[in-house]
Amino acid sequence: MYNLIGLVVLLPLIGAAVNGLVGWRIKNEKVIGIVGSATVGFSFVLSVLIFIEMLGRDVLNRAEVIDYFRWIGAGGLETSFAYQVDQLSILMTLVVTGVGFLIHVYSIGYMHGDPGFWRYFSYLNLFIFAMLNLVLADNFLLLFLGWEGVGLCSYLLIGFWYEKKFTGDAAKKAFVVNRIGDFGFLIGLFLIFVTFGTLKFEPLFLQASVMSVGEPVLFWITLMLFIGAVGKSAQIPLFVWLPDAMAGPTPVSALIHAATMVTAGVYMVARSATLYALAPLTLEIVAVIGLLTAVLAATIALTQNDIKKVLAYSTVSQLGYMFLALGVGAFWVGIFHVYTHAFFKALLFLGSGAVIHAMHHEQDIQKMGGLRKYMPKTYITFLIGAIAISGIPPLAGFFSKDEILAYVWHDGSVLLWVFAAITAGLTAFYMFRLVTLTFWGDPRFKEHGEHAKHPHEAPATMTVPLIILAVLSIIGGWVGIPKALGGGLAIKQFLAPVFERADRIMALPEHGVHAVDYVLILLSVAIAAAGIYVARLWYLKKPEIPGGLAKKYSGVYKVLSNKYYVDELYDAAIVNPTVKGSRKLLWRGIDVGIIDGIVNGLAKLVEIVSKYGRLVQVGVVQGYAVAFVFGIVFIIFWLLFR
């Protein structure tokens, strides 16, 4: 079965090629949709089969590298299209193909009637292809191919409705900001190659595992790779692209900008866990950046009114959480959170998509409210998602979030824990602010008369994926029930071989069940519950409170609702000076002014010299004769007196 991993990767590419090359001739949306979904569906089925086979194998024998063909080979560099099937990659593959399949199905309904329907499915399939390359690659270069490939698809899909200017801007911004991260990633790759002489994971990590902790080159490698992750996973300071990326179709936001692509950074760090474990300084940076991002994004989310923007900042915040987990050395927890987050965040996005669909592309939550009665299925599923992300047991979010908090606590930094806990509370708060404003209360849009909106429940292709994801959001976390609650942490055991080297280096104490664990669990649930309660109180019962607060702390509110002016800062500090400097100084100044000036100046000089020089030869014969005589006189003179 392992040999079929190539087919898992290839199927979506076939789908993309079919839809991309002949899709515009197939006028039938159903055919296009089925081609798009079925290829991903088959991939999912195949990966499930592989997964089952893996579970059947001996624990030590589960990982395998399937080498297909040579890619780039020159000098000492050898890379191939080779896929590493192991616990980590198969888990990611399952998430990608599984959630991807649901979103494909959902998109058939969501994108109905769009003139670019074929194009959309082609891009989406291409994305799955690239993402699978990313998670299955057995070397950093192939990972980079997937890494850039998903970036490209994200570019294409954000700018899918290219007639609007802001979609193009957002797409370009996403790509370019990602490229800044990729720059770091590339340098990281070079350093790895210089240090280890290979880019393949296994030999590389094997070599690394015997190196001593804290070696400078490892610090630089991991830092550079982390810069790549910062770009892809939208962390400080490169998070600015993700909220703008919401310009794309909502299923795209669900798939790419919530469930899969943005978690690539987390995956990559987890994959290189061995390296990171050897670089404690980088791990600290990862933890701090992660936490800062989590807090910052959560605070921005408090004030946003665009339903998708709230979810986007929530994603940024959750990604920060994942990096926090990685930063304290809990690599498996980071992946665990990626896995649960994929379910509930995809669910939330798809739910919001259903709402937007129903509200005829209205995204402002201040103009919604009371949708509960119009679209009950969407409401229920969305609510499940919100509860899951808030961390209320026994939904998925609780388990992963609780593990993160526990690890942070055991890491010994109370400060980190406090901020992480506050962020959890904020998360619960803004999610329920969203739920309240959208679904509860009275409608704030026109229900009757002209320009009235008539919200309606979404079609089955959209609701079925919602329901499936809702179920997964509930049960998805049960693979990681902590010991304190009598669970076995199945996912930890499953992933352990992947992180075995890193764990050995980190040597985190295997903490047993303590009273403090129960306290922590209770605390985190309490914080989440408090958040939910406050949100419900403020926005449902006493809507005057948030308004009052906003007025009272108008400065803070302004900063938050303007996202800390980060975009403006970047524009003023980097973008504008570069563009202006290039235009005025480099192009007009150096290129046209100095270099061409010198060139044309030389030409002018020749012209001027010639202009006077040619006066010697004006065609008057006597002039020539004078010169002639002069020559004679000169020669005689020279002969006489030399």
Partner: protein, 170 residues
């Protein structure tokens, strides 16, 4: 100063004056007349050098044939006086005159300091080699090839002159 010497000096002075007159006359007709005069002086000078044949040729060919051709052309073209001969002496002319003076100085300098030993008097053979007989013998023995060549050249020149000067036939 013997009479002979005085005679040579007078002839020399005449040659120079007539030459100067050639290049300073406005009217080309006058120039031609003075040029003919100059040629006569030169012919006389050739005689003092005992070159009778050359002197005769000078009169016959130069003064007699060539200068008549000049005269003929000037009259054919009916040229008037040259304007602005002296009213505008350009810097180019100044330079030309200056250069020429420098040139003549140089030559005289060379002549003055040159080695002319054994040549302070006309050779005894001079009277012999200047005769028609001697020159004729030389021309048609030693110089027979050049003389044939030059005769061809003369023919070519005549044909060329006709071609150049004739009006178009159309």
């Amino acid at each position: 100063m013997t009479f002979e010497e005085a005679f040579v000096y007078i002839l020399a002075a005449g040659a120079i004056v007539s030459a100067l007159l050639v290049i300073t006359r406005r009217n080309p007709i006058n120039s031609v007349i003075y040029l003919v005069l100059n040629f006569f002086f030169l012919a006389a000078l050739y005689l003092t050098l005992k070159a009778q044949f050359i002197a005769i040729i000078q009169i016959l060919v130069y003064a007699g044939a060539i200068m008549v051709l000049f005269m003929f052309v000037i009259m054919l073209l009916n040229l008037g006086d040259e304007k602005q001969l002296r009213d505008r002496v350009t810097w180019k002319q100044m330079v030309a005159i200056g250069l020429s003076l420098a040139f003549v100085m140089q030559v005289i300098y060379i002549v003055g300091f040159g080695e002319t030993d054994g040549m302070d008097a006309i050779s005894a053979k001079a009277a012999e080699i200047g005769t028609v007989e001697y020159i004729g013998k030389e021309l048609f023995s030693h110089y027979v090839l050049p003389i044939e060549a030059i005769s061809v050249l003369i023919v070519l020149a005549v044909v060329g002159a006709i071609v150049l000067a004739k009006r178009k036939l159309d």
